[in-house]
Subunit: 454 residues, 4 copies
């Protein structure tokens, strides 16, 4: 494979260094081979030049929390034999790649299908964003259980419900919440050893009701220890103050949506702890337009006042920004087909709502817009979507910045991402492992996105 | 095509004539060519002999009320693009054929799929029981509407619910119950002219609540008149006394489950009317074992006491038999896959219940057993499953008895159906249009019956 | 009792005669004794004068369809032993009287309590609007049954639900809808003879689903015949076209809310029939403000599109007015306490909705406003609230106009009811049976209206 | 007040001492004045003798966990102004006294009504079992909230639901589960200081779902510390292993139903901890007949398998007995009126179930039967219902055994409680504070128990 040089654009390498005008980036054998001023480029020896004058180069984007299979409704999942969701996964990975994501982290999904597609992409047999998988959120039952959408589960054949839920649960579902911490440890150790997951996610908050601790602090600690013993990072899903605190105390490596603390904002001491320890803090930041639209609707989630939850979240995010927390961009996003617009669950909050943040490929634009609105420095916003995530997931040596030796993942933008957050939506090219992606053919087999595309 | 002679068995031709011992039946070109004592058979000229000594010949069975697509739950229907249920229909037609049915009447289902398969079978492109179709029960909305399983509908994408319901409704759904009789007439006339249906069925009772009139007597009369004007027979679904009465007054040609009259038995005068006019009376007769099992459970259907409904039905059936009504065998049966056993709707009443009468291919055995239990003469029981149905559906010149000139549809039984009702389940061969069916390969592509078979 | 003369106001006697300026009305012994120009008044002999100069006199108002006990929720009804709702009934009768109603017709309620209070008022033991009672709507089960608010019923002790429902059902509930017309006749005959009701109301439409016929035309005819045989008028509750038609054909004396025909407007021929026969036509007319507010909300009632039902109703009413139908004012109104504002059923459609028409004492103001909006002549609007109702209920010889010999029921208004519909809300005095009502003390024991008053 | 001597019976004083045959117990001024062999009794000086020859004396019984107001359904609670449940409380206290209970502990109820009646009894203004109150289970919302019976709440006026729930919540409801441990501490401190409660109970398990931690271990510790700082004992409601463990670690003084650990039995190490520390262990022991009856029914509680929960509980209890845990008798019992037999919640599991343990006045008989079945020594069973509870609640110096100086609370039984558990139901007399109770007049105003009595 010959080398390729992107010449003439402005490089924002996400290391924190100031933008380099009229830069050149050379990629070779899938890696970044040279970075510097275009003037210093050695143009000899089979180097193919790619003119990006007037454009902006940033690292391939990362997302700290996606769910490739999120449209978990019967009309989608029953199209397939139980668990054979590979084409849904691949479609999502290709939508991610098309929109600038070169590495993402799937933190809840049907494990076997995710692993199969992850491995196909890693082996070069399929094209799509690289991704790592958590599988189940340990301690939760599957999508049609009482922990997520119980009324869907109640309307279907119980045999099918159990089978579909199992694709998510994989032996580490709600039954663990009945167990002693010691039994949880044992079960999780085996799961880590045999399941093929890349990192560990567990439920600190109960998903139903949000506010309870699904797993005791002792059990949480056991899980984190097992993850670390296996060389994995661990993260927790928390949605209230004490579950967040429990996750921190348990030693998690990444706080999944630490901005979501239910009905009350994060206490000062907890916030300070997060900032001081430089804990990677995933933020589900929303735009003001979205928050206001939702506030005007009557809404509740398991008895909480959803509008208040959003306002508290906003307050937390503003405090995170002011305190200089190490933020990571994410939004619980995934692919949805057109039928989601009339689904009992996914329809409610999106019809007529601006900046709805749950669609993969769009949600990051609203995140960036919200970050700019709230005064996060543009450079830090970029790092939240690149460097910080790579660091948090322990792969900063491979991805997350444009530096020599790293994977050659680049996004080329028409306008300046440090000046205008919408620039992230003005992609001219995506480079994955040194190759320019033919974005027009992605996704190759549109299923859910068929109608959205046409 | 050469001729074939079934020689040596006992023939019960369903005309009412006494059994003919040591009979011969010659079939040629798909028709019955000769019937008589084996001793009178002209054995020359290329006649292939088929020895049925010791066995019993009856006409191919008919069923007055099947629903080929009855397992209308998301895990079944969402396997297909909306409406593409052909393989479900064909499987049912093949199960019917395998179990002795050569002509059946589908009285509620997804019209286009039914028509496609009906025509394929008629053209000889597919093997299965012949069947005629009603499509929708005029005046009812589809399976996931408020008229049938509203909580299924509520748990799914409304776009998909509407699309699936439409496969049943076909423009003659519940909206007709809001209309004037005049508008109903107009709509039904167009439907009859353009839909491809074979006969007309409408809702006299509301399906939800059972006890209301879904269509006014004026509207019912309009529908029957339109059916007759188009040369079709008309039938009504009634589940209470006044709806039954309204259907009779409207001039229907066949009383669909006249034994089901809700919480109170048929009044004497109505019963007499039915008997005197020789109105074809479909009966959903149950065995005593079934009735008792259901009575021991708490059960209700839209606020009725289901146990009482069954007891009233039993009383009606005993009175029909005593009065010599012209009974037709049927049971609302269809195919179900194994997931029905844990479905919210179909599971409730079948687990551990003997003689459960809703499985196509089995339900007629319970009907026969119930008929014998209640003292219906065995010859009349046979006619209820053959001759009477053919006559009611105006095709007695083609099917329903073993007589020269009719279609050569035969069922060969190991034991005497006049002595033991279980004989109907002891089939050695089925003859459809003069050909011996290879029953072992039916259904050719088992979908729903896959697990039941294995 | 000495005589009393109301002198100097403008009299609109509701006979259709033009207003009489500077009129005098003499009342004596509870009856109207003399009506004429004030100048012709014989002022001698103990006549007490009551100066109404500048004011407007109309007959005491009537309402063709009230439900004194309409706030049928557990927090109201469980305050009492089952059926002991007398104080709720009396409060409603007093609110009616205070707001100008001297005779109303309760068309659905707990029969025994209604009868007890009706009789107390008639005997002069209690003060309140006179009222006649229908008791149950024959064919419907009680308020917590499947016919009205099934989810209330499901959440309570079944023993209590049955007991409360029985106060409404009185042996002529939904069980009649399972019966033959002959059995219905028998049951209704006995009910009329023994129940103490004043007039008969039955369900032509099913209350749940609206669109079905709850009782067959044969059964309806039987009911009307039995009512007439007992010297009572009969009326039907219909909410769709064919049920309306069935009621007309059955010979009812009054069409209860004939403007409500569900999803489709009244056919021309039915409308002509109503107009030609001068059938008393209760109208549930709404203001445009109300219709628009409701249309902006997602709303359904048993699967109908509630917004469309309102628009169809409006169209019907405009056609009734144009065709000169004999309209009667009513609105299904009743008393509600403050807890209705947060009830699962009554809250939905009233919060923030203008001209909400279900509060007794207010609803008629919206009716008048709607009538003026739609161009009904002011004189005819007044007659719809007085003369026409009296005539329809066969008591025009007693009430409904200001004529000599009739009961001395008067409402004195500050402004001209023929010029401004809001005049009906500007009452200075109410005269019931010749006595000026002390409106300030009504209701004497505010229960439901306690908070509204304070 | 003169002294009274109970002479001639067998005394089982619950200290653990062997039964004293032909004993005498002298009570004076409400206290026990002398205990010894009848032969040693000084019969002079105004001593009234009460012959109990052939009978058995035990201390007045205690119950570690009652809910005087447990029939929390609309037909009961809506009879009263919100919170005015005093007559329900008093009735329960009198039923308790009549059946042998002289001191009980109400661990969940409407606080103000409980306090009012508690104080009336303490002041001698009303007759009934003495009782101490916890008020709310801190961290739970009220009875009609999502934590208990959400579908009741959904069917009623939200204004009323909030008001009724508040009677239980008292500012320490579910909102605490959203808070930091520090905020919980503050709120609880104020609650303890101002509410008038006698002891503290909090939710370690979530009530809905059972298996989650409603309050974090940090919050639990804060609550226990605040209780102790105020001189109160603290107890936790736990229903799964980790919540039980968290409660122990938090330092609670009494384990409320430690035998209920959801789907899995108590781990050995936790059981050993309980036994070694002599932690007062409330047990909800059931008879084998009850367990088997429930197991034969399909039953679930928030997604758990209720039958399995019972079997696990039984296993825990057998292990507690074998290990010599310090058991306390209780059963979540309360008063129910006859309408509970058809209530959506309370009906399900009692119809036709033997030894149903939730009726105050009966439940202890099943406990005793279950204890004997499982081999608990009769003397220890008696102590579980007397001495152990008194000790756990820190009032052993006042009640719990028959010893000089204590309150003169006695139960006189016809048969030997150490030989036959049913003896506890064969009461001849109850002595409360030295006075023989006129049991025949209790309850004085039967409301809920009216029908059960008649």
């Amino acid at each position: 494979m010959s080398a390729l040089a992107f010449v003439g654009g402005t490089l924002v390498d996400a290391t924190g260094a100031p933008p380099l005008l009229d830069a050149a980036v050379v990629v070779r054998d899938g890696r970044i081979d040279w970075v510097g001023p275009a003037s210093g480029l050695d143009r000899g020896s089979g180097l193919e030049l790619f003119d990006v004058s007037g454009k902006h180069l940033v690292p391939g984007l990362l997302d700290a929390n996606v769910h490739f299979v999120l449209h978990v409704e019967p009309d989608v999942l029953f199209r397939y034999d139980v668990g054979d969701y590979d084409e849904l996964v691949l479609e999502a990975a290709q939508v991610a790649l098309r929109t600038g994501f070169t590495t993402v982290f799937d933190t809840w999904g049907p494990l076997q299908a995710l692993i199969r597609v992850r491995d196909r992409i890693n082996r070069g047999e399929a094209l799509g964003s690289r991704f790592l998988v958590a599988g189940n959120i340990i301690g939760n039952d599957g999508p049609w259980s009482m922990d997520f959408f119980p009324s869907t589960g109640a309307a279907l054949s119980q045999e099918m419900v159990a089978a579909v839920n199992h694709e998510w649960e994989q032996g580490v579902g709600a039954e663990l919440t009945w167990m002693s911490a010691e039994s949880v440890r044992e079960r999780v150790r085996e799961y880590i050893a045999t399941s093929g997951i890349d990192f560990v996610k567990y439920a600190s908050s109960s998903h139903a009701y949000m506010r309870f601790l699904a797993l005791s602090p002792r059990a949480q600690q056991a899980i984190v220890e097992e993850a670390h013993a296996a060389g994995m990072i661990a993260q927790a899903c928390s949605q209230a103050i004490e579950p967040l605190r429990a996750a921190i105390d348990a030693g998690v490596d990444l706080l999944q949506h630490a901005d979501v603390t239910g009905m009350n904002p994060i206490p000062d001491d907890v916030l300070e702890l997060i900032v001081e320890r430089r804990l990677p803090t995933v933020s589900f930041m929303n735009t003001t337009a979205y928050i206001e639209a939702i506030n005007d609707r009557a809404g509740s989630w398991h008895g909480s006042d959803f509008g208040r939850v959003l306002r508290v979240k906003d307050e937390n995010n503003r405090r995170f920004i002011a305190a200089g927390a190490k933020l990571l961009m994410a939004h619980d996003c995934g692919l949805f087909g057109p039928t989601a617009k009339t689904s009992p669950f996914f329809a409610t909050m999106q019809t007529g709502v601006p900046d709805y943040p749950y669609y993969l490929g769009e949600s990051h634009l609203y995140w960036m817009r919200a970050a700019f609105e709230r005064g996060l420095e543009p450079m830090k916003a970029l790092q939240a979507a690149t460097r910080n995530i790579a660091e948090a997931y322990h792969c900063l040596d491979e991805v997350g910045t444009v530096e020599v030796g790293k994977r050659a993942d680049l996004v080329i933008l028409q306008t300046d991402p440090l000046a205008d957050p919408d620039s992230y939506g003005r992609i001219t090219d995506v480079v994955l492992g040194g190759r320019i992606v033919d974005r027009d053919r992605l996704p190759e087999h549109p299923i859910l996105t068929h109608s959205r595309e046409s």
